[in-house]
Symmetry: C4
Subunit: 318 residues, 4 copies
């Protein structure tokens, strides 16, 4: 039991469940800082000059970081059973170990152990350490919302990517047909032409490869026009998804207000609930103020419902 209570305390420290705890917040900031330092050091280490002259300093940073991240990983693995998501499963720790965050945490520390025990290509493993940057995503509400939108619109996004693939193949083939004689090095095969096609359809337009023949330019012009349509698809999907998300957030807050205004007033407890919901959803104060006004107006007009002149009383439930 004493271990359980300790485990629960550590769990709340790590998972930010009680945001009142100053220590939990300090731990978060420390980990965020350490990850950022790590990412910058990996980036700088790739510059030959810096790697030669400061190699030792970087190794010390790395050693310290891996120590901290190993302890963090062990602690998260230990306390994960306190999380309702994992409590009631068989082999909860194994299930946790295959969750995305846990995999990233593991990939963040494995490379160094590899280097210590095997002699592998440093460069590749060094880059793998950059995946630690993804650990930062759990620290921002707006970010979690954006990633939520990506997750929810996955089907539509995959369909958009498939349409892009189809157009890529057809565009590359067309360019190959018309340009392979004039530029056999750049358009000599469909895979070669694909480099031009993908740069054009995504409107990146490097310019290192462009059609030379007149038919090639006409065909290329058509592909560029189709390209802006393609660039529009993901934008449309993400925008609709975002707007939908925002609408649902707003409706959730409106429901809360409606419930609170049932008795015509919002007392202190109800204000606290509303503020907690505002924080959880990440809605700005200004938007809440506007919803508050709209809901008050709605309550007022509900209060003006029909009277039955005969009865004289308001035809209203309470």
């Amino acid at each position: 039991m004493s271990t359980d209570t300790l485990r629960y305390k550590v769990y709340t420290l790590l998972e930010k469940d009680e945001s009142g705890s100053g220590l939990g917040r300090k731990i978060d900031l420390f980990l965020m800082l350490l990850i950022t330092v790590n990412v910058i050091s990996v980036i700088l280490e790739s510059v030959a000059y810096i790697h030669t002259n400061y190699g030792l300093q970087f190794w010390l940073i790395e050693f310290f970081s891996v120590a901290v991240f190993s302890i963090e990983y062990a602690l998260r693995l230990w306390t994960c059973v306190e999380n309702p998501k994992y409590k009631n499963r068989r082999f909860p720790r194994l299930v946790y170990m295959i969750s995305p965050m846990a995999v990233i945490d593991l990939l963040a520390i494995l490379p160094v152990y590899f280097i210590m025990f095997f002699n592998v290509d440093l460069r590749f493993l060094r880059v793998l350490r950059l995946l630690r940057i993804l650990k930062l995503t759990r620290y921002s509400t707006a970010m979690v919302m954006l990633l939520d939108v990506f997750k929810e619109e996955t089907n539509a996004l995959l369909a958009a990517i498939f349409i892009l693939l189809v157009l890529l193949v057809l565009a590359a083939s067309g360019a190959y047909l018309v340009e392979h004689n004039a530029q056999p090095d750049k358009f000599g095969s469909i895979p070669s032409a694909m480099w031009w096609a993908v740069a054009t359809l995504t409107t990146v337009g490097y310019g290192d490869v462009t059609p030379i023949t007149i038919i090639g330019k006409v065909f290329g012009a058509c592909i560029t026009v189709i390209g802006i349509g393609m660039a529009a698809l993901p934008a449309g999907i993400l925008t609709s998804g975002l707007a939908d998300h925002l609408r649902r957030r707003r409706e959730a807050l409106m429901s809360q207000f409606r419930l609170a205004l049932e008795d015509g007033q919002i007392d202190e407890d109800e204000e606290e609930e509303i503020e907690a919901l505002r924080k959880e959803l990440g809605i700005s104060h200004r938007a809440v103020k506007h919803i508050r006004e709209v809901m008050h107006q709605e309550a007022k007009s509900r209060a003006k419902l029909p009277h039955c002149p005969h009865c004289g009383e308001r035809l209203h439930h309470h």
Copy 2:
């Protein structure tokens, strides 16, 4: 009659009408795999090295594919009369033959027959075989929805393309006027200048052709600014169309819930209908959960409608 029942069975296998049938799904996956293998083989065949060394293997793949696709085409042609769309028309099979999917299926197998019986340019026919990739579009709900949006917004998209054409002509003419002396090879005629204009208006910006004179650069800068407005048009049209589509889907599901909640509860049959509609529309579980909550709330407040104080009973229809 025995032929009819067999024909109907084959029809359901091909058209996925009864998704319960494991065999129908296996056939779909097999055809999807064969199309993908085909597309990849056409792409690889265009690389001279691969074509020389593996020509025979590719011809075998091609021969097998054409055999399968020919049988598929014959079967679809035979069973198309089971489809309500074609049943009651005169010459149903001819009408089917001119539908887009049937034309693509035919173009997918004709080239090989051409090569076998005539001596035509292999390269062009090989590329024509790539159109088989379009056969894959019938296999994804999200994709069908995206293509639906394209179809519905066709008028607006064509208007946007027309605006782009007008700007293209005016931009190319302006560039021709100011740059034809300085760069007679690149801006020597309006068609030449169109290459720069289309790359700029679509923000692809290859950079192989750019204005040199000062007036040319000022004019070019204005065209780039107008360009981002142009790139915005298709995005806006597709986004509005998508948002509209999603709204209608959501309203359809809300109607279903409203009907089911008329008696205050959702029983098993109603749950099944809702689930079937969710699958058909391709709405995520999370969105359905939110709609469910909103509909329940709506039913609850409907239940709190005015009392006639005189009668004391709830003024509600059922």
Copy 3:
């Protein structure tokens, strides 16, 4: 009076007021075709080879076109007083002459008269004739709607362009400060640096001018990131405006349905009104079908309004 009736007839022919008239439609198609032929001929004439060899044919096309357009301009000028917009103004024809369409029509025929009577730079006047392409915009509903959206969102679009100008000046100045020593030819003054800045902020990215110094590249990277925000502004403005437009169109149709369904049924006259409104607004059949279903449902639930059990009758107006 006989002139008035003739004038009114000519007015309806030109302005498509009675779309039943087959002749009006034929005249429209003829004018559209002539404008298109003109635009193509101006484009082709700029190619030196074609201009040398076919100069006479082009001059004949031009002569014929100017004759037709002159007659058209004269007729429109004559009949413009039938238009309610101009009927009741002082000097109606002068007011018409300064309307955008009339100015374009005039600019379309003046150049040729200039050439005939003065000796002016042919090239410039030839390009001016391309403005006739703008005469085509009156022939498409979707286009009129898009131009409407542009007109309505003009304030916001101008503000977006102003923000772009501010960023342009600041970006060019920053690049000038850091790169003028390393690349005195390309970044030697703020106007020079503006060429790079405008290509980057609009994401066109020609690549003919790029920063070389490290600070320059860091600064340049920041400007590219700000660039995608800039490209987003016009998209957002146009999309919101379009969505708003579509919403208002849909609400107008819903009002029409609501009015028609007041008596619970839609009779033939009401169906005709609805169809006329659908054509005028350019809404697709499928969208109308959906609105029809929603409105029927709304009417049904309106019919299920509270009963006063005491009275037994529906508490409904009729």
Copy 4:
């Protein structure tokens, strides 16, 4: 007191509180013109030729401008206490001095004083004077609205920029891994590869650095595709924010109409309030006309509410 009344008069002149005052508007236009002249002169001064030959004229413009801006700054500092925002704070003038607009106003005049009293790099200070262009932003309603949207969506935009940074680091590392042997000068370290990565992810695509190896091109193609998703994020965020803003503006106007139509009519005072609100929100006349129609319809159907058959009178509050 006489100073107070004079101070209040000057305050209204500067802050456009009474837009009826012709003098206030003239002062605004004069300041706007002076700022624009300044910005253009700083831009032109950077061209060596112009700086050499017209140096004196530019110095005179600068001297005059700084005199005017110094007087303006002093006046704003003096009258800021009339602003409700600053009236009731301790040390109101200090609070005003750290507000964004005041800081910009100060930065606009300091450089010249620096030059006069110290000998600092003219070029950098000259560019600093360009910040005056930001003083223009207080003069446009649509602009204030756009900046409002930016401010409100700051969290989401920062999250989008963070996602871009993560992708930047991962894309640069991947390109570094696969291309550092083939192009050691351009992809020799992760910071080097970041130049290519940022140009590609933002779809700017300069083309001065592109992958050469086949794996590099495949990886590069994937990054371009992810790039159009990234360019979509800010667009989606800004569009949702704008649409939300417009919706709230529209609802505010609808509330005003609803209040005014409570007595079934809109009298002159109510029309004035509506027009004042329309100006303040910057809504177009056409949109107001549409809202007016919708609100009238709503009032009409409210008037058709249930009758109590027993009583025969309309069950309506007034």
